[in-house]
Symmetry: C2
Subunit: 755 residues, 2 copies
């Protein structure tokens, strides 16, 4: 679908930056006119670097809902394109250049399908291309020619096409007497039906996304691109500079980017990796700016934020602070320890588990930041006060009482009841996800069990359409599977389950036929399991995948036998999860409706991995008493942090570029440095990794890659003083590509293909 109006928009935005252009409505100088003038350095006393942002950046607005916003207010804040040019439902807009990339965001930056995203979003793909002999994580990569681009090995890009509200098709005529489980099943059935209907269009991947557990159901249509190749990325020493020490922190000096290219069949049809494929031509793509945005410029962060809980009942916030995150802190600490012990000093093993370690360390730090932040923000108390005010508001008028009387109590009772099995449920969940070989086995067994039902009543993820995805995952998981580490993780999870109170323990798993709790016996039993199973190898998994239940029952593989034996335990777990999901759909909707009516202001739904945009400003903040974080870092600051050992090891080539003063047009006002990262008050969360950051004219000026530590608890409530996200500037990326690794054809493709 070509959108010719879009080429025009880009042209307009180019014109809008010419010196003759001016817009009488804009009094907060738009970044366009501001940044074309020589940018100023954050020298002390230079006012704007130390100013609070001129407006809050709160709100992750669905593209679908942009017309709800007050456009004139945004124009006053510096927006120089119209909201309808960004996105018009049913028509599209500039934001179509923003795509999804498995838990991350990405954006098209050339007509030949170049994409830009974070280094950490393709870390696994880089790792999977690496061998101890050719370590792309250490060396970085620039494809000399298109033929040299590396395969994405599981990297998938989703090009968003449109969304539509299907709430009435899901909820209308739903029998109110259904149990929670029945309700969920019926909703899932309807969702599946709609998805199948939608996917009957060629090459379309569709999903029904629930906003706030069913306040609204949205059908999202995406084109799935399966041949996505790695074109250029820096060594991990730059792409993850500062590592776990700087992660979630400011000041930041991380060149966290990677450039990809999407390929399709010569016919234009999406296809798996194939040498005969040709570059994908996106409908639109972003203009990449070399200008570094200074405060208080307006910036927009577009992408697919994963999950927030801004409207959570206070009991849920309390559970998060008092139980969930402390539990996660303890579990992840032990999990990391188990993986490290399992991998030992073997460099190959360490490379294999590095993705796991990275995610777990990130999650651990996140849990700790959440505990600290929820406490610092008084999040429980604030939610409690809000719920009390809501209760008072409901009881004020009979018609409100009639409609919402029990919403608060119903939700609270449900949340309290969920506490009973939460320890077991979390540990069983961690067992199937963390002990991968056992997880494969459970998946293969469940696949077989689900296959005995008609396709449309199977659970999501177990339908015929999912076969290729599961198969690919079973194959590619090998690259992050190290058997000794995997066994250590399985042991950890079983030990934790053994430590539960007797009535909580999963009997079938830990029973006389299952796994022993006594340490030496467990160790021995696990060794036998891992020695006896074929599921640790790709072929073993592919052979087992697709077998019927009877065939599996005849298998001699002890891991398959274990999964069969504990099948009911995990089915029960899945059922409990589904019941809770069903209950939430029943309970959250009226609670949210009451809350929306009570608050009476523009409502944005919680993040749910659907396309959103946040309107924000470049701005610093005070992380604590006595300190101000200035929203700019530079490469010189990166060199200052260099210690020579990871994670502060600047590669020789970057020192050389400084020695040679190879700064070109990217130099900062000093002439001897290049700006690197910046901060804004945009409303972001996990999933926004790789999100493009646009200036007021719609040009790309940065790439979102993190939030600050003080903003972790922002998922439970935006804090104007501390909600800040971290971005690497496109100016820094262009300088690196042009002057450090001399990737001239690539820079020229990014910079000069615009009509």
């Amino acid at each position: 679908m070509l959108l010719p109006h879009f080429v025009a928009l880009v042209a307009v935005s180019l014109v809008s930056c010419s010196p003759s252009y001016s817009h009488p409505q804009i009094h907060a100088s738009p970044s366009c006119t501001e940044t074309t003038s020589k940018p100023e350095s954050p020298t002390p006393g230079n006012g704007s670097w130390f100013m609070p942002p001129p407006a809050s950046g709160e709100g992750m607005w669905p593209w679908h809902d942009l017309s709800r916003l007050d456009e004139s207010k945004l124009r006053h804040r510096g927006l120089a394109v119209s909201l309808s040019d960004l996105w018009t439902p049913g028509k599209g807009g500039l934001l179509r250049a923003v795509a999804g990339l498995q838990g991350c965001s990405a954006s098209f930056v050339s007509s030949d399908g170049l994409l830009i995203t974070n280094h950490h979003c393709v870390h696994r793909a880089i790792q999977r291309n690496s061998t101890p002999g050719r370590d792309y994580l250490s060396d970085g990569f620039v494809a000399k020619t298109r033929a040299d681009e590396l395969p994405g090995l599981g990297t998938l890009v989703y090009v968003f096409q449109r969304q539509s509200d299907v709430t009435s098709r899901i909820l209308d005529t739903l029998d109110s007497s259904l149990t929670d489980l029945q309700r969920l099943k019926e909703i899932e059935r309807r969702e599946s039906m709609l998805v199948r209907e939608c996917e009957s269009k060629p090459n379309m991947r569709c999903e029904v996304a629930r906003e706030n557990d069913g306040l609204r159901f949205m059908m999202l249509e995406n084109t799935e691109l399966k041949d996505v190749r790695l074109v250029a990325f820096p060594p991990e020493s730059l792409g993850n500079y500062g590592g776990e020490i700087d992660n979630w922190h400011w000041p930041r000096h991380t060149l966290d980017f990677a450039i990809l290219r999407a390929y399709v069949k010569p016919s234009g049809e999406p296809a798996e990796y194939d040498g005969a494929n040709v570059p994908y031509h996106p409908d639109t793509y972003l203009t990449v700016s070399e200008l570094f945005p200074t405060p208080p410029s307006l910036v927009m962060v577009a992408g697919k934020p994963g999950k927030t809980r801004r409207y959570a009942h206070h009991t849920e916030v309390e559970d998060a602070l008092e139980w969930y995150y402390p539990f996660r802190d303890s579990l992840y600490t032990a999990w990391i320890e188990a993986l490290e012990r399992g991998a030992g000093d073997d460099p190959a093993a360490r490379l294999v588990v590095s993705s796991w370690l990275r995610r777990l360390n990130n999650g651990l730090f996140h849990a700790r930041g959440m505990i600290k932040g929820l406490r610092a923000n008084g999040a429980v108390e604030r939610a409690r006060r809000r719920d009390e005010a809501l209760r008072a508001w409901i009881s004020e008028k009979p018609e409100r009482a009639a409609r919402y009387a029990s919403v608060l109590d119903d939700l609270e009772n449900h949340l309290r009841a969920s506490r009973e099995t939460r320890q077991k449920d979390q540990l069983l969940g961690a067992l199937v996800s963390g002990a991968q070989v056992f997880g494969f086995s459970r998946r293969i067994v469940k696949w077989a069990a689900q296959r005995e039902k008609p396709d449309d009543v199977r659970e999501p993820g177990y339908q015929d359409r999912d076969r290729d995805t599961v198969r690919r995952e079973l194959e590619q998981a090998q690259r992050s599977l190290h058997l000794d580490s995997d066994r250590a993780v399985m042991r950890l999870m079983v030990q934790r389950l053994c430590a539960l109170a007797p009535h909580e323990r999963p009997g079938a798993l830990l029973g006389p036929e299952g796994l022993p709790c006594e340490a030496d016996q467990l160790q021995k039993k696990l060794r036998e399991l891992y020695q006896g199973t074929k599921l640790g190898m790709i072929q073993g998994r592919l052979d087992a995948f697709g077998l019927g239940l009877d065939e599996l029952r005849r298998s001699k593989d002890p891991m398959i036998q274990l999964a069969l034996r504990v099948s009911q335990e995990f089915d029960d777990l899945d059922r409990r999860n589904q019941e809770r999901e069903g209950a939430r759909i029943r309970l959250e909707r009226p609670y949210l409706q009451a809350l929306i009516a009570f608050r009476g202001k523009a409502f944005y739904p919680d993040a749910n991995s659907t396309p959103r945009i946040s309107f924000a400003h470049v701005a610093g903040y005070a992380p604590q008493d006595g300190v101000w974080h200035i929203p700019q870092t530079t490469f010189r600051g990166m060199l200052d942090k260099h210690t020579g050992s990871p994670p502060f090891q600047v590669p020789e080539m970057l020192f050389r570029a400084f020695e040679n003063q190879a700064f070109g047009q990217y130099a900062d006002p000093s002439g001897a440095d290049v700006p690197l990262c910046f901060l804004s008050n945009a409303d972001t969360t996990g999933g926004n990794s790789g999100s493009p950051v646009l200036d007021g004219t719609g040009k790309m000026v940065g790439l979102n890659f993190d939030r600050v530590f003080e903003n972790i608890a922002g998922d439970y409530g935006y804090n104007p003083d501390r909600s800040r996200n971290v971005m690497v500037s496109t100016r820094a990326i262009l300088w690196y590509l042009q002057h450090v690794v001399q990737a001239y054809p690539l820079v020229s493709e990014i910079r000069s293909t615009h009509p």
Copy 2:
């Protein structure tokens, strides 16, 4: 000596803060008039909090030399008292309120002899008053009545009276053919003579202080006060809040103060602790302000900075960076480990070694900061360029060449020659200072040896006048002596000496009659030494101290026998140190004279523990790319850091004061907080701990207690961007005393005794 003009000065300074007072010369608003208006908060964008200081704070000016300064410039910067009122040679001034306190500074703040200094300056005295049953470090202390004040146990205060330039009396008629050792001995003889002459006045303690190794010799006369009691101090949890984590850092939330009182005989004569003593009445004392100074107010830091090397030859700076501080880093790391291992988990032992650990940790961090800072500042290169420029300047004109031709080469050759024995010399020094029991033994033996010479040719520290001091030290050292830890330290030093190249090893110490290098044998031998010696007990030391050499030779004490056996080794060490000292006097003087002539601007000598003052401004700074340190913290920030475990454990009483909103007139503009610490660009170093910080009118607004990490290498060169010192405000101290511990009589004595 009463100085009546001084009472007048204080009165003037009070008047100068009345609203009707104005001074036409002052355009940088003096802190007096500025802070009497409601102080502003460091809200983002509030300009002055983010401004660089209006002028450099470089220069530790001897009080003696204040007339060299440009007073009108200082008035423009905000000085509202005259320099001559601060100090006039031969006459005194307001600064007489600033005293010395064994390596620290302190100041009088009441007519009844109250003194204020840092908590860490009297840490040892607090520790010596503590027992496991009554732990003043944990509990803090406020004397209910004067009778409850705790003994200072070795705390000595030096009230500075006057200084005079005695250079010509030292250097004139010095025979140029003397060897370095002879020259030093002759200089020491002359110094001793002058000191004796000076101390013939009653109760006077005199010293000849060498500026820059003899550029100038100054006679300093002090009254020594020996009965100094502890009146009030916070628990260590506040006095050392943040501990080793926050030490040398900003932002800082440490209430690092202690209040003392000096006592004398009813006749006014200084005396040892005695119940019949009465409070000392100082000639003058400081007015303690409750106003918190905001940037860019002028502040003055007065005290006795210990040692800087601002004019060091580049070879010396190179040695510091490449050898001395790395050596110290390694040694202190092992030393700390030895003490901790020796003390084990025994709380009493840990209390005993805590002072040692604190000093060593401080030194370790200092060494690391020095290495980092010298490198970051390019200190070696800068010194090298300066020396090259000096060389060029010297060779420019024949008369310069005639006078200074060889100064650079002579100094460099000397520095290079000193490298030969530096490892052994440092380790032997650490052995006598760190292994205390061996140190006592060496001291007792040397005392006996020196006693055989006439008093005036003995080394400094071994003359009759030193007897009481040494005796007191031998007694009081017991409180920081834990024998197992001491033995572990001795073992460490001996092991390091054993690891030297054969030609460097001290033969007598490690020879067949001395200590074995083999690990088990050494361990066994040290056990025997410690079991056999009586020097681990006070009485044993006092019994041995004062014995003649022959008596010592007949002693059966194995530690005395060891000290006698290695006497020559340590005499040689002392001789080498003296030769180097003599050489420096010969070489540094012409080098400095050349440098002063070459630079042609006002010169301040390196810090040498003599009274100095720095004129500075309250100011923040950028510690690194992307961060600005705001020069104010608050108690709320302290509570934010509270974790419940040391070193971030706020005592209950402080939380209670916040709950009760007991802020009184000390509240900040929010009304719900109290300002705590601040920063300035004053030129300070170790020894400035406890220095009073005065505002432009001479009132005390703060108490210096630290520098920032980025300023450690400032000892080798003031850096306008990073040289910042850390102070606790008197406002914070007064609030604590009045509203947290309700020490009303004390607050009233501090605040209302002025005429």
